[in-house]
């Protein structure tokens, strides 16, 4: 094994910062993907036959689909070099020392406690919020709310999983949805019974499960009639992944009158390809809200989608992308209006600096029969220097004559005059620019739970100082 490097961006496929040590081997399927690997994963989890069948069908489909070429550059992904399944064990905790120093340093600067850092690193099995988590669990169980890891969810609530799994994102949707379906492991499973409003946001963070940061996580959320839940995934601290591909699938079903908000902040280390399919179906008078922050990764391709299938359904996507040196954030949103009087609002903010590239790729589709649909898209891009780049690729398809569809886009640069004004008050150049950037993303951060908003602003400061890899 090589020595750990200090620069995360230098991490190549030849060296993996595994959190296991060679003298304490853990179970893994080895590099590369075969039918046998898929069977082994399913057997390890002792899954029902139908899930194995589904995995195998998805695997076959994955093989036939070409790597998409319409977005970011995926040509460097070497599917044969990836570990598709590594069974997490306690033994991993011994390898904390193998983490790259700059990741630890960033966590220090964010003021993240030691125990939490180990959790973030995937090396800690115990975490002090466990007590909080247990109390939360008791309350949830009393209300009939299910909040489990996906693996456990499948074991304990097979009928709900079977009814909904793959109905929102079928494995034929795209190559990476197929891959995820074939090899998924971890993720969250949430079911909220009719009329139940979960007051506290459910955070993946609280779920003490070494698998929940998995690279092929699968999340399924079912919000029953007139129920509400806010789910928060990820965190603002950089997540170090030993593997370079993160291909998750998130499916959400919101039944009539229900509401679901899904907040993600991803800050993968900059060796990671983050290719995520997120889609939600909102039935009659239901509401779905995606709040999506993308700070890390080498390339992210993610377009949270809302399918408004019931009359009066409403969907919102609030997204922010930060593309620094060597990063490409190809993000956006999709809104499909498939029923009358449905409404959608998409707000996208992107920042690019240090040669980074941020793009908005969006779709608004008003289908036949979706009379009275209204959609508004607002895209604002902030470009911090000459070498950075921002693109907008909006697609709008309207099949009803009375639809109201608006699209606004702005591109701006941090003006010398704005900087001069703030610096004349004693703020350093990096303090001044991070203040301008924080202000730019404020419409998003104010929608985040407070601790996330605070961390997000601190992280932007670090990014602006150029001290984050």
């Amino acid at each position: 094994m090589n020595k750990p490097e200090t620069d995360v961006s230098q991490i190549g496929r030849d060296y993996k910062y595994g959190f296991h040590t060679t003298d304490k081997p853990t179970f893994s399927t080895g590099r590369g993907l075969t039918r046998e690997v898929v069977e082994t994963i399913s057997a390890q989890k002792d899954e029902p036959d139908w899930m194995l069948e589904r995995r195998l069908q998805a695997y076959e489909h994955f093989l036939t689909r070409p790597v998409p070429e319409w977005g970011g550059d995926l040509s460097k992904i070497d599917f044969d070099s990836i570990f598709y399944y590594v069974k997490p064990t306690e033994a991993e905790a011994s390898s904390w020392e193998e983490l790259p120093p700059d990741i630890k340093q960033t966590w220090d600067r964010l003021g993240i406690p030691e125990a939490e850092k180990k959790y973030l690193a995937g090396v800690g099995a115990q975490y002090e919020s466990e007590v909080v988590y247990h109390k939360l669990q008791e309350e949830l169980v009393r209300q009939g709310v299910v909040f489990l890891g996906m693996d456990v969810g499948l074991r304990e609530h097979e009928e709900i999983v079977r009814e909904h799994f793959g109905t929102v994102v079928p494995f034929r949707d795209n190559k990476f949805a197929a891959l995820n379906t074939a090899v998924w492991s971890g993720g969250s499973f949430i079911y909220v019974p009719p009329g139940v409003k979960v007051e506290m946001p459910l955070q993946a963070y609280f779920r003490i499960n070494a698998e929940n940061m998995g690279q092929f996580e699968r999340t399924l959320i079912v919000v029953d009639e007139n129920a509400f839940v806010h789910y928060v995934e990820g965190c603002t601290a950089p997540i170090y992944s030993s593997d370079s591909l993160h291909a998750a699938v998130v499916e959400i079903i919101v039944k009539p009158g229900g509401r679901c908000r899904y907040t993600t902040i991803q800050n993968w280390s900059t060796n990671v390809y983050n290719l995520v399919t997120k889609r939600a179906v909102a039935q009659k008078n239901a509401t779905i809200e995606w709040v999506d922050g993308n700070l890390g990764s080498k390339l992210t391709m993610k377009y949270p989608a809302i399918w408004l299938t019931g009359e009066g359904a409403h969907g919102e996507v609030l997204s922010i992308a930060f593309a620094g040196k060597g990063q490409h954030q190809d993000t956006g949103a999709k809104a499909v209006h498939a029923a009358p009087n449905t409404t959608s609002l998409i707000t996208s903010k992107s920042i690019s600096r240090g040669g980074g590239r941020a793009g908005y790729r969006g779709l608004v589709n008003v289908a036949n029969g979706a009379r009275g649909a209204k959609s508004k898209v607002v895209c604002d891009a902030l470009i911090l220097d000459e070498e950075s780049r921002s693109d907008t690729y909006p697609t709008i398809r309207v099949h009803e004559s009375d639809a109201e569809v608006e699209h606004e886009a702005t591109v701006s640069k941090i003006g010398e005059e704005q900087l001069f004004y703030l610096m004349s008050r004693g703020l350093s150049e990096s303090e001044a620019s991070s203040m301008i950037v924080s202000g730019f993303v404020e419409p998003i951060t104010k929608e985040l739970p407070l601790e996330y908003a605070v961390e997000m602003n601190r992280l932007i400061q670090l990014q602006m100082e150029g001290s984050v890899g």
């Binding site: 003006g415 010398e416 005059e417 704005q418 001069f420 004004y421 703030l422 610096m423 004349s424 008050r425 004693g426 703020l427 350093s428 150049e429 303090e431 001044a432 203040m435 301008i436 924080s438 202000g439 730019f440 993303v441 404020e442 419409p443």
Partner: protein, 259 residues
């Protein structure tokens, strides 16, 4: 040694055009100096150059605060030394509330004072100072929760500039056309607020086209600035004379294209 000392200052644009062609000025604590000049005479260029705006080159001469040259310092470091510029056209920072901006600016200055250690102002102390200053300057409380200068009227912007002056405690304040765009009541409040601050802790340079602000901030010295130089200097009576006679006597012929 004067608080602010300007020695034979020359300022040019990046294309080499000289705007300020050699001026000298010495300002002591407690003094108010008025720099009066016609539109386009280069008054704002002078103000921006003092604060360190990158678009203006100081081609020769020196600017000293407390005997220390400012020329090698960036605008942030000049502010940390105690220099303040009230902008004629303050910039908007969307998404950042006035309150949050003020606290960040105060903390930046406090950090510089402790040599780089964070030393944030305690929240109760900040609230108290903010409440006192907003009352004195009649700044509507509602403005404090809005985004800095975003959609503010001209008068609101000027009030917020002077609110910053009051809270940041500089040693030397340069007020660039603070009177422009103000109605008479606002002018009285704002000018009165500045007058109250001038004293052993603060000297001021008031840049203006019109004499009327000087009715409320009594200058100790008046400098007439035209064609890049001080063309006349005197006491407050000079301002009154300008008000009645205009700048014509000081304008070189055919130089109305001057900046």
């Amino acid at each position: 040694m004067a608080l602010l000392e300007i020695r034979d200052l020359h300022v040019a644009l990046s294309d080499g055009t000289e705007i300020v062609k050699g001026i000298d000025l010495a300002v002591e604590s407690g003094e108010v100096h008025a720099i009066m000049g016609p539109n386009g005479s280069g008054k704002s260029t002078l103000a921006h150059a003092l604060m360190g705006h990158p678009a203006y080159q100081i081609t020769s001469g020196d600017v000293l605060l407390d005997g220390r040259s400012l020329l090698e310092l960036g605008p942030d470091e000049r502010a940390q030394q105690g220099l303040f510029l009230a902008f004629q056209y303050p910039y908007a920072i969307p998404g950042v509330t006035v309150t949050s901006f003020l606290r960040s600016a105060i903390n930046a200055l406090r950090k510089a004072r402790t040599g780089g250690e964070d030393d944030p102002i305690p929240i109760p102390e900040f609230r108290k100072e903010l409440a006192a200053a907003t009352e004195r300057l009649k700044v509507p409380r509602e403005l404090l929760g809005r985004y800095l200068n975003d959609g503010f009227s001209g008068g609101e912007k000027k009030r917020i500039e002077i609110l910053q002056l009051a809270l940041l405690h500089p040693r030397l304040a340069v007020l660039d056309e603070t009177d422009s765009g103000l109605d008479i009541d606002a002018l009285k409040t704002i000018a009165g607020g500045v007058s109250d601050l001038v004293g052993p802790e603060l000297g001021a340079v008031v840049i203006t086209h019109y004499q009327r602000i000087l009715n409320y901030i009594r200058p100790d010295f008046v400098h007439v600035f035209a064609g890049g130089r001080f063309v006349a200097e005197g006491g407050p009576e000079l301002a009154e004379q300008l008000e009645s006679e205009g700048y014509d006597a000081y304008l070189p012929e055919a130089s109305n294209g001057d900046r």
